[in-house]
């Protein structure tokens, strides 16, 4: 288990390094930082001056090395738009997005686990077909459209929930639904497929033949083995949700990392955008790493280094 963990962590670090380089170079090639700093309509000599003053005329590799070494020391630079330290901005908004992401995953699991298990226990019946139909419809509905429908229902018609803002837990309800419903179908299908497979497995037949309780047969023996792919997907989806939070946070003006990313992109605020991209990548890498380690615990056969 230890050897496996060490190898897996080394890979995660290498991936993080590669992603940071790729995203840095991609953003620099897409737009000109000097123009962004000098501002719209700046004269050519102003831009040239900025380029020299900020060292933007040096090769990209040198700039990346400098940015990386600063970043590793916790210095993400100063936001061009908000005019404050990026690290403070990000630290401010990160909790909001983490709460949203986690709540969405929990909501998605709370919907998809029972439905997936239910469908697997009654395969090819109307219960199963209903669950599948829900999943297919859910996967087709664009999340921004769903979010606006939620606003129409809960804010405009029922007047139960605030349209936008961050202050209270009520502000998180609609964003959680809008973000979580989107990944629930994938979970449900995976749980259903996994449960159908494990319920037909020989060891589940052994559990039945040993007279174990139906609860133990379904949850201890079948579900645990069916969950292995779900855990991997949950990590991937949480990363995906953090990306999707841009759309949802922007619609509900929920003041998290996604909304910050949207603002930084529209204002061409390079340092902030760069920091958010890096942070989301690192969170994703960390999550997949965690999922692999959890899976190694769930399935002893994976613990081979």
């Amino acid at each position: 288990m230890l050897g496996f963990a060490v190898r897996r962590i080394a890979l995660a670090l290498a991936v993080a390094l590669a992603v940071s380089a790729a995203s840095f170079i991609l953003l620099r090639l897409s737009g000109d930082v000097a123009t962004a700093i000098a501002g719209e309509g700046a004269r050519a000599e102003d831009i040239a001056f900025v380029r020299k003053a900020y060292g933007l005329d040096r090769p990209l590799v040198v700039q990346y090395a400098e940015w990386l070494s600063n970043t590793l020391r916790g210095d993400f630079g100063t936001s061009l738009y908000f005019k404050t330290e990026v690290i403070g901005l990000v630290a401010d908004k990160l909790p909001v997005t983490l709460v949203l992401g986690l709540a969405s995953i929990l909501f998605a699991l709370a919907v998809s686990l029972p439905l997936g298990i239910l469908a697997a226990l009654h395969p090819n019946t109307w219960i199963d077909r209903l669950c599948l139909a829900l999943a297919v419809l859910g996967q087709a509905l664009p999340n921004f459209f769903f979010a606006l429908c939620l606003i129409l229902l809960f804010s405009i018609t029922l007047r139960w929930l605030p349209v936008s803002g961050t202050g209270t837990w009520q502000h998180f309800v609609m964003p959680t639904l809008a973000l979580g419903y989107y990944v629930a179908p994938a979970f449900m299908r995976l749980v259903r497929a996994g449960m159908i497979e494990t319920l037909a497995a020989d060891y589940v037949r052994t559990a039945r033949a040993s007279g174990l309780s139906p609860a133990s047969v379904v949850f201890k023996h079948a579900l645990r083995n069916a969950l292995i792919p779900v855990v991997a997907l949950a990590a991937v989806q949480l990363g995906f949700l953090l990306g999707g939070s841009i759309v949802v946070e922007t619609i509900f003006a929920l003041d998290g990392l996604g909304y910050l990313a949207y603002q930084s992109i529209t204002y061409k605020d390079f340092p902030t955008t760069q920091a958010v991209v890096l942070l989301l990548s690192v969170v994703y890498i960390f999550l997949t790493l965690a999922a692999d380690l959890v899976n190694a615990w769930l399935d002893p056969r994976l613990r081979v280094a």
Partner: protein, 321 residues
């Protein structure tokens, strides 16, 4: 004394896309306490379905009917699923063909053995563990205490089958149903496992229903034999009766297929029964074996009569020789 297990007119129908598959047709047999009954037949003859029907573990698309299905005084045909479930693993255990996949890969051997014991007998974790270690010793696993903490993938196929046997024994059952318990194992290990089953049966006094396609196995272990063909029992009796004087041509054919050390010369052709098992979808008119039978005659087109001779029964137009 009444039989431990009494089966009369057991029928299993499977709903398949092509129609209804009659996997088991009107099967009857009895097993006394401490006795070994071997159910033999080719694959697809309904012997595994018979075992699953006894256990109440038939697949979802199967329907079981029986005139009489009584185990240890309990009418299984009328028992609720919960009542049957309480018997399984406690008084009525089962061992499966595939030891490689029959244990849950996610839990240790000890965890799985103890769960069965505590489910039926209650008691402390320590008591269950002690029982598990004792039985692992009994099934011939060295360093039992250590093995309890291991996962199935750390054990060989032979060891896993020994663990499955220990699991079946956990609660001191009065009947074990073993469905081809040695088929998936190496030949040398097959003999060991078979001997182990026989020894354990002598020690713990439980009855055994052994499902197999291998008459060699039957010859070594059976008290009584039921030969199945196309979902029906075509011949049954004591092992001595069936082996000494097989009455049904199918049984005789099967016995010809056993290689006998000393008598079968190397390179000599073993007997084989020509033809294949008929499809079990729909009804079968007359004797199901007649297409493959060397003694077939016009009378075989109608249902064969059942002959009986001192507890030896067979279904064939040909009576006692």
């Amino acid at each position: 004394m009444s039989a431990l297990l009494s089966v009369e007119g057991l029928t299993v129908d499977l709903a398949v896309p092509a129609g209804t598959l009659h996997a088991v047709r009107d099967v009857s047999f009895e097993v006394a306490r401490g006795e070994t009954l071997c159910v033999v037949g080719e694959s697809g003859c309904g012997k595994s379905m018979t075992a699953l029907a006894l256990m109440g573990l038939l697949p979802r698309n199967a329907r079981r009917r029986a005139r009489r299905l009584v185990f240890d005084g309990v009418d299984l045909a009328a028992a609720s699923p919960a009542r049957t479930n309480a018997l399984r693993g406690a008084k009525l255990s089962m061992i499966f063909q595939e030891p490689m996949t029959a244990l849950n890969p996610a839990y240790t051997i000890g965890n799985q053995l103890c769960e069965v014991y505590r489910r039926h007998k209650g008691g402390s974790r320590a008591a269950a563990r002690e029982r598990a270690a004792f039985l692992l010793g009994k099934v011939g696993i060295a360093a039992a205490g250590e093995r309890l903490g291991q996962y199935p993938h750390q054990l060989s196929g032979g060891l896993r089958q020994r663990v499955m046997i220990a699991m079946a024994l956990m609660c001191g059952p009065s009947l074990i149903v073993a469905d081809e318990p040695t088929t998936a194992l190496d030949v040398t290990i097959q003999a060991q496992i078979l001997k182990l089953l026989k020894d354990l049966q002598a020690e713990f006094g439980m009855a055994l229903v052994l499902i197999t396609h291998d008459l060699g196995v039957v010859a070594r272990i059976a008290d009584r034999v039921a030969v199945m063909y196309a979902g029906e029992v075509v011949e049954r009796g004591t092992a001595a009766q069936v082996f000494a004087a097989p009455r049904h041509p199918y049984t005789a054919g099967l016995i010809d297929c056993i290689p006998v050390p000393g008598r079968t010369k190397p390179g000599e052709r073993l007997g084989a029964i020509p033809g294949t098992v008929p499809a079990l979808v729909g009804t079968i008119e007359g004797c199901a074996f007649r297409q493959r039978c060397a003694f077939a005659q016009p009378a075989c087109a109608s249902a064969p009569p059942v002959h009986a001779d001192a507890g030896h029964e067979w279904a064939c137009v040909r009576g006692a020789a």
